[in-house]
Symmetry: C2
Subunit: 575 residues, 2 copies
């Protein structure tokens, strides 16, 4: 059965299952969401108006047994940045969508009136129903209730109160194999889903399998690919300590933004480090290793229990822990875990919201270090939509504007994550030039600047940073289209068997004959499509800049400023 | 004595009185503020950071006896729009600055720490002093206190709590001859003054007069000019009913934006009209006629008393009354007057703040028609800087973002004032193309579209709107440089003696020989300077657009949408 495009029009409350246009055939994940957004969304439209569309697309390999191939891409014009946006996450949805033959789900239009809806999709039907019971509910309640209505095997994509209130940091949550949540976190895509008044989308399970053109070749390639992932030392560290292994590494590098980006090292780093987290998890009988989707062999997730050994949170990432921890000066991992859990339930991006809290602390809203205060604001203000909740829920830029703070770490209005660009200059190029606002995952130069993966580029030097970021951004755009987790990049950069095996799997899946260069060209094409959308929306090279405080305030311990010239940044797009 | 540039550096707490650079010599008012901003301010800088500068400049004829020549221009990069910005007002400051030989006052840098300052300037000194007593005080208290410290004759330019809190709608208030306030209202220039931690600037009175190169010629030209103003029927209507004469006229034209821009007519228009206001003022023994600066012969201001015949407000303008009235559906002139008084005291733009209230009403923050609620939010939230106060105090765009409202009438994030562009298309071109965000005063096509001044252009037709707006924007930029009130334009457009007399006055003042074409060229040059600044700040033609709801929602009673194409809008800049 050929893959189809599933389309829901909320203006007319109609649905359709359509053939895939020929030029979308070879695409998946980010490559597909960005292509559809560019083709069907007016670049200057209001992100929360009737002209924006929300696109869900599994990756090219999602639904197969390929290791780590379960990422789901969600795309739209972002209410936070005004740019094109793709956010991806694990969970079960990508694999389930692929198996029912859904190449992409496109949600367009806006409903009349205040009625909310839910969507149930299967291989051949899309059912749009009115929703009342779950409006206003947190994501965890939604998952429980929807599983009650359907089954534990159903896939679920949902928004919490933040998305309903159209907060610009609202995310879209994807149910994972344990009925917990993974987040398409950045750029406020939950607000787009909220604007369309859709509380959740459920996916009916199927016995059907994704068709593989050459099963033997696929199996063989997957074996090689999996071995490369499993053997990689960074994969192994991620499995042991989670992404939070980075707290001590980045602190040591002097690039752990602390106290709203006024220092590069945090006195409390040991208290929130991956090592401490690992020991705490073991002591409390949680799980240090956990997969966000079936088939993941890295297992960087974990189950973090509270002091009563009861489940508190999972998918407890370095960037979230950094943001609530070092950036807000909170050195208490339990408070951070509580905040992480609350944000997952409210459905709001942990990076954006926590960086916003740091700016709010500088603006005098609460004291640095006040982890209890963060949790209180999450519960009492953001979840309930008070005025303060809406200011913080609309992100770091919003807080800066409301409180007159000028030290606001954002690019294209999206919060800069856990790596200070003054001390790791490659990532600064990524923040500045990314088509989607500041986002470390768009071109993770930390690999080469700090971890020595894919060569070595001195983080403090100008040299090679633009080229490094460019190569990684191109590769990332391609990887984000395959359905692969970005963490395959560590093996891909250092193990020469990995990338060819990935290309072989794509070829075996579709019965085609791509070479490595085709993958690079795919990445280039995606970046250019995204950039063209942004230019048509009014973005210029003036938007490819870091906030001026990075050039003016040296950061300890290296006492360095951001000093890559505008002209050098602009060479990024010379390809 | 030659005019000088007065300069205050808040980073070093130093002051200087400098010679005027040759290329600034022929400039004044907006022409000078925009030239200085373009020359000295980095276009991409943070508007509230150390690289922005705040410029005060009297007009070319300010300080002379020329009728209506007492406007003061204030310029900077705007925190509201991100564009270059000039806002002008009457009051006594322009004339006093001109008489002490201050061609422009430039305030640059940012102080270290939290100390606030005041500035006292005289012909040969600038005194920067620490300020504690008046921090947090409203503008009326500031005027009383500063007059107590200095004299009743001193000029005063001040910010209220809104400016101190760096709200993006904060204005700068200028003392008028009765020790009341006129506002440099739009674009948040009060926040720029607040960022520099200057509470007020006082100007010492002088006996000195502005030098006139040819006094006889000047006197003669002023006589002709004054007669043209006084004889003009619109000048006369403005003197009788104030600018609020427009409520009934614009309602009749179906262009009075009502209930957050969902209708073009307001049922309660009679209750808030200029005619009702005039009768109320007379009955309560106020003054229907009042001048905002010495030498004004139009006298469109007034003293509006409360029901106890006690002073309530003055400078009670059509656009403010429309915004709190029709746009928020408040049909009670006393509530509107109370709100106007509160906004003047808090130091916040009446247009931006009231349009923001309308968007907040749509967002469910308060009910349409709740005039008491508006006053309560002004007193309890904006004045005190609560979270809600900060959302509304940062303008209509801010409220739209916080509450997920898409019907947000702004261009370049500045609120659209009192004339619906669907029903008066010429003003839509001005809103879209203005270098400073939506602003009716930038090219007041209402004159020709509705009032039949300067010819007649059908407000509902496409034809001639771009040319009309262009000609008026060019003329306005020039008029804003002379120190003249914009209301001279009615006479200038219809009385052939008026404009030559104005040119003669400029020639007589400086001993030069401009012709009418030179004035046009000045206007062109100012617009191009401003546009170039904005382009360097990252603005493109994509920013020269009205919000999409204007194209999608027909407005009663004409049931028309905004239908001038992007291509046609872009022809505006073909000069």
């Amino acid at each position: 059965m050929a893959d189809k495009i599933f389309r829901v029009n909320m203006s007319t409350l109609s649905t359709a299952i359509e053939d895939v246009p020929a030029n979308w055939n070879g695409l998946g994940g980010r490559g597909l969401t960005s292509t559809i957004v560019a083709a069907e969304v007016e670049p200057t439209c209001h992100p929360l108006g009737g002209k924006n569309k929300l696109i869900f697309a599994p990756g090219m390999l999602s639904g197969t047994v390929a290791a780590n191939s379960g990422r789901l891409s969600v795309g739209a014009k972002s209410p936070l940045t005004g740019t094109i946006k793709e956010a991806n996450a694990g969970g079960t949805a990508a694999q389930m969508l692929a198996r029912i033959g859904c190449k992409a789900l496109i949600i367009e239009g806006l409903p009349q009136g205040d009625t909310w809806y839910n969507i149930l999709i299967s291989a051949d039907t899309i059912t749009l129903s009115e929703e009342t019971e779950l409006v206003g509910k947190g994501n965890f309640d939604v998952v429980t209730a929807v599983q009650g209505r359907t089954s534990e095997k159903h896939g679920i994509m949902t928004i919490g109160p933040a998305g309903e209130m159209k907060m610009h940091s609202a995310n879209i949550s994807i149910k994972d194999p344990d009925s917990r949540l993974r987040s398409c976190g950045r750029g406020g895509l939950g607000a787009v889903m909220g604007s369309k008044q859709i509380k959740y989308i459920a996916i009916e399970p199927t016995e059907a399998k994704v068709e593989i053109a050459d099963p033997d070749k696929f199996k063989e390639a997957n074996r090689t690919f999996t071995k490369a992932l499993v053997d990689n030392p960074i994969s192994q560290a991620l499995g042991t300590y989670g992404t939070n292994v980075l707290v001590n590494i980045i602190n040591e590098a002097g690039a752990l933004p602390t106290r709203n980006f006024t220092s590069g090292q945090f006195d409390g780093h040991e208290e929130i480090s991956g090592e401490t987290m690992h020991d705490t998890i073991v002591e409390r009988e949680g799980k240090p290793k956990h997969n966000c989707h079936t088939g993941c062999v890295i297992q960087c997730s974990q189950i973090y229990n509270d002091s009563d050994k009861k489940y508190k949170t999972s998918g407890f990432e370095y960037e979230s822990i950094w943001a609530m921890g070092a950036d807000c000066c909170v050195d208490n991992l339990d408070q951070i875990a509580e905040a992480d859990h609350l944000m997952d339930d409210i459905g709001i991006d942990t990076i954006e919201t926590s960086v916003a809290m740091g700016v709010a602390m500088e603006g005098g809203v609460l004291e640095f270090g006040d982890g209890e205060g963060i949790c209180r604001i999450l519960r009492e203000d953001i979840a309930k939509g008070t005025a303060l909740g809406r200011i913080i829920g609309c992100g770091a830029g919003s807080v800066g504007r409301a409180y007159g703070v000028t030290r606001v770490p954002v690019v294209k209005n999206q919060a800069i994550p856990a790596y200070d660009p003054r001390a790791i200059k490659g990532i600064g190029i990524t923040y500045a030039t990314s088509t989607q606002g500041a986002d470390h995952t768009m071109g993770y130069t930390i690999a080469t600047n700090i971890l020595g993966v894919g060569g070595s580029v001195d983080p403090l030097s100008h040299e090679g940073q633009v080229e490094l970021s460019r190569n990684l951004q191109i590769a990332t755009a391609a990887i984000d289209s395959t359905g692969m987790c970005l963490f395959i990049a560590f093996a891909a950069l250092d193990d020469e068997t990995c990338l060819p095996a990935l290309v072989d799997m794509i070829n075996a899946r579709f019965g085609i004959n791509l070479v490595a260069e085709d993958v690079t060209n795919l990445g280039i094409s995606i970046l250019k499509t995204e950039r063209a959308f942004n230019e048509a929306a009014g973005f210029t090279n003036k938007d490819d800049r870091l906030p001026e405080f990075f050039s003016e305030e040296p950061i300890a311990p290296h006492n360095v400023v951001w000093d890559i010239s505008d002209e050098e940044i602009d060479t990024f797009w010379n390809f």
